[in-house]
Subunit: 745 residues, 2 copies
């Protein structure tokens, strides 16, 4: 059974919010400039907060105090004067993004520079917020910066206003391609000889592909994943490795910065983006809230005006207008125009993307259809799946064909759909019977009294059902089987759709155990025949942040069904087509019918006959459905693990000449059941993000536990480093248990 | 000013609780045996929980199910029958320690063995608890065990009874010297070829000195540092490296196990312990609750009885008694006797150990003498220090001698004791004056109105004070100095004892800044002249567990004054005497008077004159007292960091030919101020224990922050791994801030 909500209508096309940044000194976003920008089609502008006069006086103050001596007092800053800032509260400020002075150096190893920079940051953030400009860009830490010091200052600045939002300006890797400090950065005041470079500096950004990402991770970790903190990511001309692009996609990026170097020129000389850039942009465009796009130092706004002393745009003279009328109008914002063009030509979404719109990264508690009765709209959602029921139909047909040879005589094959819902599998069974020409006696068992009513009605009015279906209202575990009035024949084929996103998490094993006694002992078939659960470690700051913001403690101790969107796989491999795919590993398996006399033993234990004394609360009646596993993954790049993504695969039926399977495992889904929409993945969170250094091993231990009354999961991960002669532990997560939120049997 | 409570009277001598373990099968601790043991002087016995009949049936069940196939049902256990256990509820059970069957293998890689072992553990723990035996020993994980699986089972077993206490039986390193499974451990049923040894097995315990400790750390971490979980540590004949011994001392050990091999034989053939063993035992004996001692498989109790069919001890015949009267009575428990001997011959405690009795690992909130008024009993406690006031006296004398040469004319040296309390420093100043023959005019400034009353009374009745002391009731920062009636001379020497365990944490800088304007600008001296703060990373499961059990979140965000007792230093070095000492590093320094015009600038800023706009809440008036630091430590062994231990050092006075210092830094305290009792260390906790792999670097960043109204600390640690070309981050702690518990200025 699928496990997500109802279907959404199509959403409107992508919408880009595009702004312009002019980093030259003394360029202020006055109301006139703003209205010019609007006219051109921009949505917002950046603005400096302070003036170059302010810059000069701070530089002078710094020079006074350098080099610092033992008695040098850490500097404080005189408060801002009107010469220091051209900002003032203004209605138009809502379209402005503040650009904190890029010439500061928060993580400077020089204490005078560091302290002055901190004062400037605080002054600018506080004043901008006072003026109603709460969206602010802050230059990231420099290459030699003390990132912890930097992060601490950011954390303090975040608290300077209730609506302050800081976006840290960073490159994807290495250095920024653009220099955002127009002149005289404070860092230059400190002679290289004075900078006390630690011999063991962290691997330089120049050589460490993930160096910038590590700095970001340190910053946001120290800021406790604050929702007021995000990224302004500068896109380089040459995009880095796809693995690093995917990593940035999983991070909270609210601004993408395109500079002149991001663009190519097409044959006509217009700026365009490379295919890789277009793909990256398209990926970000699929987000429910796509990042804003910032054009940096391209198409200066003043070029859109003729030069007048007042800076006002002038109307062309009639003669000028006439001579231009035959030319193409000069486009003063070709880069903007191009981005708008891309906005209107975004690729259409896949089936599951359309289906999941609105559900991206939306954490849902898994359904408990065993205890809860589902609503019709929920069933309706399931039934829209273009793949699942088709596959079930094929599986039933294949099973019928195989069984026909095994069944003596001419009797119909007895097919029982257990947990029939509104009856889609019954329909498929009837269709399979027609298609194969094999007669069946079809039963539909359903415990939900409301759905039961619908089944009865359907039986009466549906042409295909034609009152032939034996509809039974019963929990399948209590069903006595085809009644004596019909026959006491065992069921030949059980058909069920009891699977959750992790396979067994909606208690399919427990349910199917309950009907196994009605199954034909020699050739009885269960569709599905088997199912397996699979996991892979996941990085998702988005999901972690969501859970962090919720109240309570139990939130970490249960799995969620979620359409994963903004995430990154930590452990990957290359498949036979040289594609990079996640390393997804199997945890355990279930198959039906349960072989041997395991169920007999269980029945003996249940209720305390040969019971096991009630340890862990159980009599042992469900012990055979307990599972344990330990799986290892390798992570080449550094990362942070926020939990485990879970999937399932199932063999509906494997017959003499066919194998019909479903899968939501991203590695096998394309081959087994592409475009199937019925299941989102499942997510087992970690209460504390686990830092994974490069070249590490992640060992995940999981358990499916049961005490007969309920079923729950436990999960834990250890991080290891391979060393000569073995491996060495780096870290271990908490042991999580969903026992307090267990599924009741 | 010192920061701990009142003095305790001497505590009674060490008390050892000694028991006996007989691991042979079928030896039950019946009431008769128990009373025999009492007679011999034992305090408790261990007892198995099940019988060898039970063992046999479990082994048989295991053999049936091995080797496991795909369809093998995970076994459950039939409940215990009367043949399976000789235990029953009994008053005497309170003197019994249950010994869970050592033949199980909880972490077995074989799922049948693992599951059976788990069922046995649960059965035995549950039944023992039912019978009132809640103290239980569980054999630690085997060398090839899946420790996570083992830990998970222990965690579940802990919940089987509200008073259950599990003690994990482990060696200090390598393998146990003793075999506690009398026969047929389940592990032997699994042929070696079947055991799926991971190629990358964690460094074998045989080669990794800390291998067993790592297993323990994993177990207790997965059990969330449960207070119901502790250690039963087997002591080997040859004790391992002292560093490892210290590590085990910091862990929650509730049982020390001595086996036959732990003992040597002296010349007379009696069992004795080596010097190293005696030292280890003495160290554990200093704990407020020393561990119980367990003699394992020595001096079997039945030897104390003659062999009768009823097992009753028989009286010797008169003839036997007569012939034995000339012999020394045979001692049936020589090992026990020896331990009792040690109990009565424990070394006496040092001064600070006696002083701190009852305060070991007791977390106290630091004093806030600036806001609170201290009680007389608190002052009295301070004044008992045999070192501090002596040193102050010497410092004042040295300063007087140096100043005598600098002061023109014949006027007395003006000495002001600020924060005079009950006046001990005034007394020392007067004594120094007499001793040097230099006349002084002594002032005593105190804001505490209650102490002020005492000072006035003392001035009147004390022979030495003799009404000469000028007693002033005032906060020193508001004192106008020696009044016009006397003179308006500046103060020549300020004497204060405002230091906390971290030096500046009771706001000594802020206070002394407040009197600096009264100090002679040319030659004015402050005693102390300077002080420094120092830290080192600390492992203390004890303190972490204490904080964990408290309610609320803020508990992690403030430092505590605590007499550290059960801890381990994570970073050590070897000093010039080849002793291993902690690696303690300085964070920052303060000196008085504050040089230059820093205070002038501050005064200008305070109240908003040239103020800095109130960022971070401050006007900048106290900015010069802000501090920041980043210090690196190396950790060679693996460990867990629960926080930072903090100390201070101070130079009371450094004159022409003398330097008088105080220190609680364990590295320098023996030379600078041995036996000083006034200060316990300070402890900055980490909310989440930080795992430190071997050969790591720990970088600690700390800040002393101020917004003029208050002063607080921030602290964070990063763990790095040295790699070729640099270092690689492994983990980072949260950024902690005591701002919400700041000291108010």
């Amino acid at each position: 059974m699928s496990a997500h909500g109802s279907f959404q209508p199509d959403e409107p096309a992508a919408l880009f919010y595009i702004g312009q940044h002019d980093g030259r000194a003394n360029v202020q976003a006055s109301p006139d400039v703003l209205s010019l920008a609007y006219g051109l089609g921009y949505d917002f502008l950046t603005t400096p907060i302070t003036t170059s006069a302010f810059h000069s006086r701070v530089v002078a103050q710094a020079k006074d105090l350098l080099p610092p001596t033992d008695t040098t007092c850490l500097p404080t800053l005189n408060p801002l004067t009107p010469q220091d800032s051209n900002l003032a509260p203004n209605e138009g400020n809502s379209a402005l993004v503040g650009f904190v002075s890029a010439w500061i150096d928060l993580g400077s190893p020089n204490p005078v520079i560091a302290k002055l920079s901190q004062r400037v940051l605080n002054a600018e953030v506080a004043y901008a917020a006072f003026c109603g400009i709460n969206t602010l860009i802050v230059h990231g830490p420099s290459a030699q910066a003390n990132v912890v010091q930097y992060a601490r200052d950011i954390r303090e600045a975040l608290a300077l206003g209730p609506f302050v939002q800081l976006h840290i300006l960073l490159p994807m890797t290495g250095e920024l391609e653009h220099d955002y400090a127009d002149s005289s950065p404070l860092a230059e005041l400190v002679a290289e000889s004075e900078v006390d470079l630690d011999d063991d500096d962290d691997l330089s950004r120049h050589t460490d592909l993930y160096g910038v990402w590590k700095d970001w991770n340190t910053i946001r970790t120290i800021c406790s994943y604050s929702q007021k903190l995000s990224l302004a990511l500068e896109l380089p001309r040459q995009l880095p490795a796809p693995s690093l692009q995917r990593r940035w996609f999983s991070e909270p990026i609210r601004l993408l910065i395109y500079s002149r170097t991001s663009f190519l020129r097409n044959a006509k000389g217009y700026p365009v983006l490379s295919k890789q850039h277009q793909q990256l942009l398209s990926r970000f465009a699929t987000l429910p809230s796509p990042p804003w796009l910032l054009l940096s130092d391209v198409d200066p706004l003043e070029d859109a005006t003729s030069t007048t002393t007042t800076g006002q745009p002038t109307e062309p003279t009639p003669a000028e207008a006439a001579s231009r009328s035959n030319e193409k109008p000069k486009d003063n914002a070709p880069h903007l125009r191009y981005l708008r063009h891309l906005q209107h030509t975004q690729p259409s979404r896949t089936a599951i993307e359309r289906f999941g719109q609105g559900y991206e990264d939306f954490l849902q508690s898994p359904l408990q259809p065993l205890t809860d009765n589902l609503e019709s709209i929920t069933y309706e959602g399931f039934e829209k799946d273009p793949v699942k029921y088709e596959w079930y139909g094929r599986a039933i047909a294949a099973a019928l064909k195989d069984l026909r040879k095994q069944i003596q005589g001419d009797r119909p094959v007895i097919v029982a759909v257990v947990g029939a819902g509104r009856g889609p599998l019954v329909t498929r069974a009837l269709q399979a019977s027609i298609q194969t020409g094999i007669k069946i006696q079809c039963w539909a068992v359903e415990k939900n009294p409301n759905a039961f009513l619908l089944l009865q009605r359907r039986n009466a009015i549906d042409d295909l059902w034609n009152n032939q279906v034996r509809v039974v209202k019963s929990d399948m575990r209590h069903w006595r089987g085809p009644t004596a009035a019909e026959s006491t024949a065992p069921v030949d084929i059980f058909v069920s759709e009891l699977l959750g996103s992790f396979g067994d998490n909606e208690l399919s094993p427990e349910c199917l155990d309950g009907v196994q006694h009605l199954l034909h002992p020699a050739h009885g078939v269960s569709i599905p025949q088997s199912y397996t659960a699979h996991i892979t470690p996941l990085s998702s700051p988005r999901l972690y942040n969501d859970l962090l913001s919720r109240s309570g403690i139990e939130k970490w101790e249960l799995p969620y069904v979620v359409m994963l969107h903004r995430y990154d796989y930590l452990c990957t491999q290359t498949n036979s087509e040289a594609e990079v795919v996640p390393d997804v590993k199997q945890t355990w398996a279930f198959s039906h019918p349960v072989p041997g006399d395991a169920l007999e033993q269980s029945r003996g234990r249940a209720g305390g006959g040969l019971d096991t004394g009630g340890w862990a609360g159980g009599d042992g009646g469900n012990e055979h459905n307990a599972r344990a596993c330990k799986v290892s993954f390798t992570s080449r790049e550094p990362g942070v693990c926020h939990g485990l993504a879970g999937y399932f695969e199932t063999v509906l039926y494997a017959g003499n000449d066919s194998k019909i399977e479903l899968s939501i495992n991203p590695v096998t889904m394309p081959q087994k059941s592409r475009d199937m929409i019925s299941w989102f993945p499942i997510f087992f969170p970690f209460k504390t993000p686990l830092y994974i250094p490069e070249e590490s091993e992640i060992e995940v231990s999981m358990w499916r536990q049961t005490d007969d009354r309920s079923v729950w999961y436990e999960w834990i991960a250890e991080v290891y480093k391979k060393v000569r002669g073995g491996k060495r532990m780096i870290a271990v997560s908490e042991l999580h248990s969903s026992r307090k939120n267990a599924c009741l049997t």
